[in-house]
């Protein structure tokens, strides 16, 4: 031990101390405290009590109300992921093929929204969706529908807005994968006489797949725990786990239950992400050896 | 081989490396290296890629910590001295010029560190840029300079601090062929002007032979042979050295009864030569055509301007020979000839004895 200490270079330790201390103190401890809080009981009259048990979790698992909200959260997150794949993956390939200066310009168009507040972006959808919203005007004007569709306070609306908010992550992920690959492979395929469709199916798609997988993990995790978008589009009527946690904390004041809900969401998201990641690694290890 | 002064007395070398060892995991990259470098000497570390040249230089420079051995500079142990306190000048393969400083600022940096006064700094920087022939370029930024110019700035920056030893890691490998030759001449001129003790790392044998007082041939972390370029060229200790330095023909012969035999050819050997199988090395330029000797058939002929290269098949394997492009036309492909060389141009290699 002494020998180890003597050989230990103090410089990197000192350099990492400020960040290490701050994160240790203000990230790990609060998270641990939240885990403890989720084991405590709450009553409206006496507040948080110092009994520790799994009652909150039992309540979440046994009450169908919570089950329904968790299911809805999973459903919207999954549908959002599918939508970002359908839009983001082809667009990433298209962007990749663009030449200067178009590529730079449209890259800003595709990724720039990341820098705009989620609230503003979602507000845009609320304006488009509204009963006198532009989408319905256009659809009716085109004669596609007869009566206005309901987007506000529906899962459809939440999914569309969430997909818009999270789309840049899918594009980044797919483009990062494409960037690592040899740009000549596609030309090689054409030069071997393959058709456009064959080239897409046999050459492009397998290359894009790892990026789609990675992007899906990110998008799913963020969609499942998204708060602002479901809060604005879904409102009180269409709760997801995150908005439910918010209500428990700020209206019911049942912090222990809120903490249990938040942690459960966190754990589920982590499990899904890790599971998908393992699956992806097993599937793609050969490609990246 | 320790440098000797005019009277033949041994004087202590400026750099003395002994038992220098570096391991990465289980592989020993530099293995008990021992080397003395005299004041003002120009020594090249030469060897194939991955043989540990850079690692050796980095240990001398203080950027890689050795796992064993010692590096002494003028009798002082450097092994645990920080790189910034060693006072060595280093030119890196990538030049490592500070991109945000002009050429003059780059050169001035080492002086600034040494708290040299502003006016003196300007003077020394100018002198250093003059030395490398870049006087008018002081205000240029590195990215606005050619590879050769950047190379000179790096050299000036390393020399301006008047280092005890100059370390060069493949300084010319990023330059194109003609520029490289020009810079070789420059480098030799500058080294002789300043008299700075220099250690050069290279895998280019012509560069090493053109520049150095002595060549250190390395192979997988160990020294294969040390000596003056012409000595190592003419008297390689091992097949590896014979093959690495220039082209050579190797024959399997044997020695017995004070004779050295190759097929039915034979030569007298000095008495001391022990009996047994032996490798005979003959350089292509030492081989001549004759009426009698080793029978051979020309298998290919390459014209190189000043000379012809002939590939020949003989009973003792393929042979390469050079023929100056003077007078008679060389034999054509398929022609049968006889090869000969003088006894003195044959060099015997006994692998076991050498290692």
């Amino acid at each position: 031990m002494k020998a180890l200490l003597r050989r230990l270079d103090p410089v990197p330790v000192l350099l990492s101390l400020p960040a290490g201390l701050l994160l240790g103190l203000f990230l790990l401890i609060p998270l641990a405290a939240t885990a403890i809080l989720s084991l405590q009981a709450f009553s409206l009259y006496t507040g948080i009590q110092s009994v520790f048990n799994l009652d909150n979790y039992v309540e979440i698992f046994s009450d169908g109300y919570f089950g329904e909200i968790f299911l809805r959260t999973a459903r919207t997150a999954a549908l959002t992921t599918v939508l970002t794949i359908l839009i983001g993956a082809p667009e990433a390939v298209i962007l990749m093929r663009m030449k200067a200066p178009w590529r730079g310009i449209f890259l800003l168009v595709a990724l720039g929204p990341l820098l705009i507040s989620v609230v503003s972006r979602t507000l845009g959808w609320a304006l488009l969706f509204g009963s006198t919203g532009i989408i319905n005007d256009v659809l009716i004007g085109l004669g596609l529908i007869a009566a206005p569709l309901q987007f506000m306070y529906t899962e459809t609306g939440v999914v569309i807005a969430l997909a818009h908010v999270l789309l840049p992550f899918m594009i980044i992920s797919v483009m990062t994968t494409l960037q690592r690959l040899n740009p000549l492979v596609e030309s090689a395929s054409y030069s071997l006489g393959a058709s456009g469709f064959t080239t897409f199916r046999r050459v492009i798609l397998p290359q894009v797949l790892p990026g789609i997988f990675a992007g899906s993990i990110i998008v799913f995790a963020m969609a499942a725990s998204a708060f602002a978008t479901p809060q604005i589009i879904g409102g009180r009527r269409l709760k997801v786990v995150a908005t439910l946690v918010y209500d428990e904390y700020l209206f019911s004041l049942n912090w222990p239950l809120g903490a249990a809900l938040a942690l459960l969401l966190f754990v589920i998201v982590i499990i899904v992400a890790v599971g998908f990641n393992q699956l992806a690694e097993r599937r793609f290890r050969r490609l990246y050896g | 081989m320790t440098p000797e002064d005019a009277n033949g007395h041994q004087r202590s070398p400026l750099v003395r490396i002994s038992g220098l060892t570096k391991r990465y995991g289980n592989t020993t990259v530099v293995d008990r290296l021992k080397l003395d470098v005299g004041q003002g000497e120009f020594v090249s570390l030469l060897g194939p890629s991955g043989c540990g040249k850079t690692t050796t230089l980095q240990m001398i420079g203080g950027f890689v910590r050795p796992d064993g051995g010692k590096i002494e500079l003028a009798g002082r142990d450097l092994t645990s001295v920080a790189a910034s306190k060693r006072g060595l000048g280093i030119v890196f393969q990538s030049y490592a010029l500070f991109p945000h400083m002009t050429a003059a600022e780059n050169v001035a940096y080492g002086l600034e560190v040494r708290n040299v006064s502003r006016s003196e700094r300007a003077e020394q920087v100018k002198a250093a840029l003059d030395l490398v022939g870049l006087a008018p370029y002081g205000d240029r930024y590195p990215r606005a300079m050619s590879g050769g110019q950047q190379q000179r700035v790096a050299l000036a920056r390393a020399l301006v601090i008047k280092p005890r030893v100059l370390l060069l890691d493949e300084p010319l490998s990023n330059l194109d062929a003609s520029l490289r030759e020009e810079m070789q001449v420059e480098l030799r001129r500058i080294q002789q002007t300043t008299g700075t003790t220099t250690i050069l790392v290279t895998h280019d044998q012509t560069e090493a032979m053109a520049l150095s007082d002595r060549i250190v041939l390395m192979r997988s972390g160990q020294i294969e042979q040390i000596g003056a370029p012409e000595h190592v060229y003419d008297h390689p200790d091992t097949r590896f050295v014979a093959n690495f330095l220039g082209k050579t023909n190797l024959f399997q012969g044997d020695v017995g009864q004070s004779k050295m035999r190759l097929g039915n050819l034979s030569w007298a050997t000095p008495d001391a030569t022990p009996d047994g199988p032996v490798t005979i090395a003959v350089r292509p330029e030492k081989i001549a055509l004759a009426d009698d000797g080793l029978p051979a058939k020309v298998s290919a002929r390459t014209f190189q301007g000043g000379q012809w290269l002939l590939d020949l098949d003989t009973p003792h394997g393929p042979v390469l020979m050079q023929r100056q492009n003077v007078g008679a036309r060389p034999p054509t492909v398929g022609e049968r000839v006889c090869l000969t060389w003088s006894r003195d141009d044959m060099h015997l290699i006994r692998e076991e004895a050498a290692r």
Partner: protein
């Protein structure tokens, strides 16, 4: 991808651009309506809602708080990330991977979880609703972004530069000050700007921990929208969108937005 886009690709691309831009453009247009309710400005444009915004003490106050919070947390995050990045990129030390994981872990924790965790923690140590507490929480949230940008920038420096400086007799500190810092400055600035805008826009975590005197702009906007949607919120959003645009141009100039988000692109190798 060397082949070019065909007709169907360009058609898809057009729809994509419409999809991405529509909500943003709609917000900006509606902010200029002369009417008292949300509508497209078909009967002329007006700045009345921006004027209303300027006269709204709550929104203006929140804007100030968000600016201060963004600047403070980005600065603190940069100050602690520079040495951390140096340690991770330049040194090998026991616990290096664990330290890197710790620094990046805020990316893994959903903001909503961070929000509830900080709410409980700050109320226990008596820091709830304070600007200091908000700053700490934002620093933790943005450290991964700053750290990654600075690490990229440090990692792309030739390590021979450090060796060259050392061989000239430069101390580690002087080398840092005269060589490393100037050369990583664009990376540090990009990290700062990215961190600033991330902090400025953060709403999910902040809504839990901001107090009455420390309501940030996005939180104020969120709370306002929960009540009613009128052209005032469109005006606020327009301001946020313009800010994002400015930040985007700065980042693109400093570092290349594509390089920052996607990594070096093979088609412009000297970027």
């Amino acid at each position: 991808m060397s082949s070019s886009n065909g007709f169907w690709s360009l058609a898809f691309h057009t729809l994509f651009v419409i999809f991405v831009m529509a909500p943003i453009v709609v917000v900006c247009f509606m902010a200029f309506t002369p009417e008292g309710y949300l509508s497209m400005p078909t009967n002329g444009v007006s700045l009345r809602w921006f004027e209303a915004l300027l006269n709204n003490k709550e929104f203006v106050g929140s804007f100030r708080i968000s600016l201060a919070l963004g600047a403070a947390s980005a600065t603190v995050a940069a100050l602690i990330s520079i040495p951390a990045a140096m340690a991770i990129v330049r040194y090998d030390f026991p616990g290096r991977t664990a330290f890197l994981t710790l620094c990046m872990s805020p990316l893994m924790v959903p903001s909503i979880v961070l929000g509830v965790a900080f709410l409980r923690f700050f109320s226990q140590i008596g820091m709830s609703g304070t600007l200091v507490g908000l700053t700490i929480s934002h620093v933790i949230l943005i450290v991964p972004y700053v750290l990654r940008t600075i690490m990229n920038s440090l990692g792309s420096l030739d390590s021979a530069l450090d060796h060259a400086a050392a061989s000239l007799g430069s101390s580690a500190w002087r080398t840092f000050r005269r060589v490393t810092l100037p050369l990583t400055l664009p990376g540090i600035l990009s990290g700062w700007v990215l961190a600033f805008i991330t902090s400025f826009d953060e709403v999910t975590m902040t809504i839990f921990i901001s107090g009455p005197g420390t309501t940030t702009l996005p939180v104020r906007l969120m709370l306002y929208i929960e009540d009613s949607i009128d052209p005032l919120v469109a005006a606020v959003s327009t301001v946020l969108i313009v800010m994002a645009l400015v930040v985007m141009l700065i980042l693109d100039r400093l570092f290349g937005l594509d390089r920052m988000l996607i990594g070096r692109s093979p088609s412009d190798p000297d970027r």
